[in-house]
């Protein structure tokens, strides 16, 4: 094990992530080839399916919306020095909050009051579900990673229990709640574009995509342009230094996880308020974990996360198209690629750093090599 030379900033921020992503893509391409398919054909169909038609693009952006929320959730916690593996559970709770308030009040409240309320309650539910593990880490010393894993299981048990025992419509076979009243339905992109006089195909894409963009901008301002965000990032880079500077790290743990959980909780606005219009099982189905890959790929920056979300949205949508067109291909391939990205861009992010440093040294010529030698 050698301590590698520090990379120049541009190489660390741009070259290394691209190299890592390329390795992950190559590994997935190799698997595609291994199971007897043509990677080029798969990519062509995938790109066309994801971006080639207005409808495909709509689906891509619909998936991306959810990933922006969960990706931001992971990133905010990460800036606070925490690994929030519980996005899945927080998103479930968020959807539950969104749905419960809709079932309860939508019949009597107008949409302009109902929709903000659903957003608020969803975010609040997610926030609480993240704040409990945060509290336990800050004040009782249990590790947030383990607790949030447990909270994922508790969340899905709670959802199943509520749906099966209380919310399910009697006499109905499928495990889902009654449909919400009309005021609790977030306008779809189709409807929204109609107001503007633009033709847009029917798809699950809805106006929560704007909410996701707002959330990304909001997280950017919170983290880099407010005192709260500064405190959070200071705690993340060094809890002891932050404490010496008068920041209470325990409060920061709860604040970071609370914001993180609230963001994950907003998934409900897309999946429950925007698409399904009722509570059901499986509306998160792994998006919390995709958020980890998204955040790692986007290097925990809101702009990067939006781009990475669109990439993952495209993979999910395009992957679905490929599974129709190419025999023997399934969307599990996309899940696998997601895993490779977490592995190469996350866990093994610096394995290739010495090689990149060497290549950078070659490009920059003798001066930096001499400097490197002086270091060694």
């Amino acid at each position: 094990m050698t301590s590698h030379q520090p990379l120049p900033r541009w190489a660390d921020l741009v070259v290394l992530p691209i190299v890592n992503l390329a390795v992950a893509l190559l590994a997935a391409g190799f698997m595609v080839w291994l199971v007897g398919q043509n990677p080029l054909e798969v990519i062509t169909v995938l790109v066309h399916g994801a971006f080639g038609t207005q409808r495909g693009l709509s689906y891509t952006l619909y998936y991306a919306t959810t990933f922006v929320f969960t990706g931001l959730a992971v990133a905010v916690a990460f800036h606070g020095g925490l690994f929030n593996i519980g996005g899945e559970g927080q998103a479930i709770l968020g959807g539950l909050g969104t749905g419960l308030v809709a079932l309860w009040l939508a019949a009597s409240l107008p949409a302009w009051l109902m929709l903000p309320l659903m957003l608020l309650v969803g975010a609040l539910f997610g926030m609480v579900w993240a704040a409990v593990p945060a509290y336990l880490q800050a004040y009782r010393g249990s590790h947030v990673v383990i607790t949030t894993i447990m909270f994922n299981f508790l969340a899905s048990s709670l959802l199943v229990y509520l749906l099966v025992n209380h919310l399910k419509v009697p006499g109905n076979m499928s495990v889902e709640s009654a449909s919400f009243a009309a005021s609790a339905k977030l306008p779809s992109m189709h409807t929204f574009m109609q107001w503007l006089g633009v033709e847009w195909p029917n798809s699950p894409l809805n106006t929560s995509v704007f909410l996701a963009l707002l959330a990304a901008v909001g997280v950017y301002f919170l983290l880099w342009h407010t005192r709260l965000g500064y405190d959070l990032r200071a705690t993340g880079s060094s809890a002891r230094a932050a404490e010496y500077a008068g920041i209470n790290p325990k409060h920061q743990v709860i604040f970071a996880m609370g914001v993180s959980g609230a963001l994950a909780g907003m998934v409900g606005m897309n999946e429950i308020a925007g698409v399904n219009g009722r509570l059901m099982l499986e509306y998160v189905s792994g998006a919390g974990f995709t958020g980890i890959a998204v955040s790692l790929m986007g290097r925990s920056h809101p702009f990067g996360i939006v781009l990475a979300s669109i990439l993952f949205g495209a993979l999910f949508q395009g992957g679905a198209e490929v599974s129709f067109e190419v025999r023997g291909f399934s969307r599990d391939m996309v899940v696998m690629l997601q895993g490779f990205i977490v592995l190469f861009s996350g866990a093994m992010a610096y394995v290739l750093a010495p090689a990149v440093a060497w290549a950078v040294g070659l490009v920059r010529g003798g001066a930096s090599t001499a400097k490197g030698a002086a270091h060694g």
Partner: protein, 322 residues
Amino acid sequence: MDEAMIGSLIASTLRVSTPLILCALAGLLSERSGVIDIGLEGKMLFAAFAAGAAGVAFGSTMAALLIAMGTTVCLSWLHGLACVSHRGDQVVSGVAINIIAVGMTAVLGIAWFAQGGQTPAVSGDVRMQSMMPGVVAALEGVPVVGNILGQGFLSHNVMVYLALALVPAVWWLLFRTRFGLRLRAVGENAHMVDAAGVSVARMRYAALTLNGLLCGLAGSYLVLAQNASFVPNMTAGRGFMALAAMIFGKWHPVGALWACLLFGFLDAVAIRLQGVRLPGIGEVPVQAIQALPYLLTVILLAGFIGRTVAPQALGRPYLKER
């Protein structure tokens, strides 16, 4: 409750607990050496797939077991490469293994067997059969003994007894051998071990190798003993439950055994209590019983019942100073 029911409850508790015990011991060895292992779930899933595929392809129990264990040892080494050699984040690496497992086993399953990700059922002689059917048959009809001892304790396959035997074996390895002392020391204070002239990386790789072997056994059990074929995502959270059991057992083999048996018992009870009204409590929702292991672990970790102390150096990569 009659004795036939007690017998079957004991039997299913042991059956459900076996993969948990194997997996919890695997996690314990890794974490005692200071390497967090969130990837138990994924490794178990890989092992189940490998055992199913190899069992069908070679028609041999031994081949299935060896290939499953080989696969998981490689995965453990990958974890080691990322976190021990290159000081990557141990939790992220574990998460990666879990996600890759879900995707890759389904991809390969579909490509190789074309049954929607499932493998064909392994044949009867590859599957593990009850170890002492003669004894169980002989005891049948004997009051109490027949049901409880025969059906409950003696009707199992060899893996169940192996898992139970591995608990004292791992205890002995960890607490009564020089290797175990060093392994635990690496997990508590890696610098000290390094100063004593023992390679930290080598100890952690050794622990991860044992971890891989045990995960391989746990995953194979699902296919070779419980279910006849591999089904996508068949581990269904067992790896995480084993992780919880290991923590609940306070990173100690015997504690982990009791936790696994408790969780297995809750699982066995949950199915039987469906729709049953208990006196004084009323109907207990199945989900509540199924969620209990996770809830108990959270409460324990928070220090409300007893105190758990994780290995000191858990999650800290070791950088040898130059």
